[in-house]
């Protein structure tokens, strides 16, 4: 299955993913026009912060089975056969918010969408950029991320890379000369300073 894999330690809280998501889901799909739209598009990926320096990009995990799908009374939530993404039929959403209560990650938010004529707010969660995927592109958030914190690909492949990196680091001391991506020393030093400020 394909997923946007999150590497929290690489997130710098720049929120490019949020902006890219909001723009992608706006009517005009253009930054300068999107900010003036009547129904402002808000991001469906959320950067959460702890202690003013630890950041985590939180978005829909497109679960299977999906708790949100299980509780939806109108069947507004459905699954795409090809990608497995959990999608919302805005027209069927009655805004009861039980999906939001059921979501273990708290990523469902309600907003007005240009696709409906009404002013009411509906479940406007991450749709895995299903349109972009159909065009052979990757989700907007992953494309916007310049640090590798969000990477789109086959879940097992991405997990495998992380696992290999971890294992290689573990057995480095045995004299292997394979290099793996590590957090550069100056960045670790910075994070240590930020941790200290948070702990004071």
């Amino acid at each position: 299955m394909k997923t946007v894999f999150v590497r929290q330690e690489l997130c710098v809280g720049c929120r490019h993913c949020e902006i890219a998501c909001a723009i992608e889901h706006s009517l005009n799909k253009d930054l300068f026009l999107a900010i003036h739209e009547k129904k402002p598009s808000k991001p469906r990926i959320h950067i959460e912060t702890v202690d003013n320096y630890q950041t985590f990009p939180n978005r829909c995990r497109h679960c299977d089975p999906a708790p949100c799908m299980q509780v939806c009374p109108t069947g507004a939530l459905y699954r795409d056969d090809i990608t497995g993404s959990v999608l919302v039929n805005y027209g069927r959403c009655i805004g009861c918010a039980v999906c939001a209560m059921a979501c273990p990650f708290g990523i469902i938010e309600f907003q007005q969408v240009y696709q409906l004529d009404t002013e009411r707010e509906v479940n406007a969660k991450c749709d895995d950029c299903i349109q972009r995927q159909k065009e052979g592109k990757i989700p907007a958030c992953a494309e916007a991320c310049k640090t590798g914190a969000l990477e789109f690909g086959d879940a097992n492949d991405l997990i495998r890379t992380s696992r290999t990196d971890f294992t290689t680091k573990l057995i480095r001391s045995q004299g292997t000369d394979v290099t793996v991506p590590t957090i550069p020393e100056h960045i670790s030093a910075y994070k240590a300073v930020m941790e200290k400020i948070a702990s004071l």
Partner: protein, 629 residues
Amino acid sequence: MCDPKTMRKEAEKRSLDKLDQEMNVKAMQEGVETAWDRLSLQQPQCGFGQLGVCCNNCTMGPCRIDPYGGKPTHGVCGASVDTIVARNLLDDLCVGASAHSDHGREVVEVLQETAEGTAPGYQIVDKEKLYSLAAEYGIQTEGRKQEEIAKDLTVGMLAEYGSIKNRLQLSERAPVPTKEIWKKYGIVPRGIDREIVEALHRIHMGVDADYVNILLHAMRTALADGWGGSMIATECSDILFGTPKPVSSWVNLGTLSTDKINVVLHGHNPLLSEMIVHAAEDPGLKKYAEEKGAKGINLVGMCCTGNELLMRSGIPIAGNVLDQELAIATGAVEAMIVDYQCIYPSIPATAGCYHTKVVTTSKKAKIPGTVYMEFNPENAIDIAKDIIRLAIDNYPNRNADRVRIPGKPMKLMAGFSEEAICTALGGTYKPLIDAIVAGSIKGVVGIVGCNNPRIKHDYGHVTLAKELIKRNILVVETGCAAIACGKAGLLLPEAADLAGDGLKSVCNLLGIPPVLHMGSCVDNSRILVMAAKIANELGVGIGDLPLGGAAPEWYSQKAVSIGTYFVASGVYTVLGIPPKIFGSQNVLSLLADGLKGITNSSFAVEPDPVKAADLLEAEIERKRKALNI
């Protein structure tokens, strides 16, 4: 956050001083937004920016570099992360140096106008300093009127802003070994505005791309501030308003009065605040205040202009930079008068929650939502009187039910100009040098700089000062740091009880506090002068002396300049907040390590004030060892 217990806990997290905590609670209770609230809303703050790897200089960008070594590795123009980080640092430094130097320029211009007779209200107060500066500048004083001497001096100083003179007279005060280092590395400051303009040129896309070259010029630009713009500001302010002598006064929000007109003088330039002090002495205004039901006019300072008034006239000081919203939240401030620098643009909104009026006075520093009363030296006294009248008129609008003055003011001693310290030592630095050689005083550390809501208000300054004096290290302070320690009772001779035995005995002997308030942020130049004099007596460079510097809670671009000119002059400086350089290993290494081989000093980053004290103590030991003491 509705319940009192949560508010109190939050207030205790925000500020160290009990009175500040009290006002934090009041602000929360009354729904008044503060810098702390806005800091929360800003989270997460962008890591590209924090690491200095965001370049927003040209419209091919904005660009950012992946901090983890992936792509993108260069900006559109090809700038590397080292180039981007170095340029950004230089940019911030320029803004800070400009603030100091432009402030200095205004003081020189007013001195000039005073000499020409076009600035009534101002006068030459310290004739001795005028004459000694004239001598330094090679100006004839024999048989000449002081106005003529002053005119020549100001011309000589103004010439140092541009490219005509290409040398800064006051930088000659530095000891020869220090000047030799500057010469060797091509960083002798030439002109105050010149270095800044050249820096901005270098920052332009496609100019300086060599991080070492950029940082060397950054040092030169900072030196043109410390030994140039700032020093000129200090010296000319001394000529116009007097060189500070030890003085007793009061500090913290308790200096606000329940039954007098409270006027808070906030900002930087004494050109304005000194005139307000003069104007407030007018018997007519005093009577007017009484007519409005007040017992008098209560002038209190805030931030550097507050420090200037405190140092020269003993005017009480209500707080430092993070106090500006809290002071208004007492509900007792009729007017906050500001000129420039460190004024939060939020204060008209804060004032709007109460009867307080914010008065802006500088053409360069207008803030929407304030009352603008343009101040100029030609009509200084009249405008100052109008400003006070505005405050008095506002007194009947004070709502006694919304007033809470959170406690009693703390006593402090200030006024320790370099001249005053020398006088206190008996007219020579020998007693201090002897104490340092004997080891009863291990060394001297200057704690300077601002507040930053990212660090508990005043905690960094007070904790570091207490640690250092415990270890027999004499502390000198300026700016918000000095105000912080004042609130904590450290600027008193009695505070010597908290010091180690060696420092304690020296302080008790001389009747001085273990922490000496040396003035405003431009008065960091006083520390440079003191260091130069001591170094000259010993025949060494400033970089050989057992000195250290610290800015535990800095926020401003001015602090980048100050930290850099101290390091460039040979003083190891510890910063409590990380500068935006961690995105480049090379820049970080040069500033934290490589500089040691150049100036025998460097920067260090340590938010924990106790660990910062460890670092400073170790550095002082290192320099003592090298001096064989």
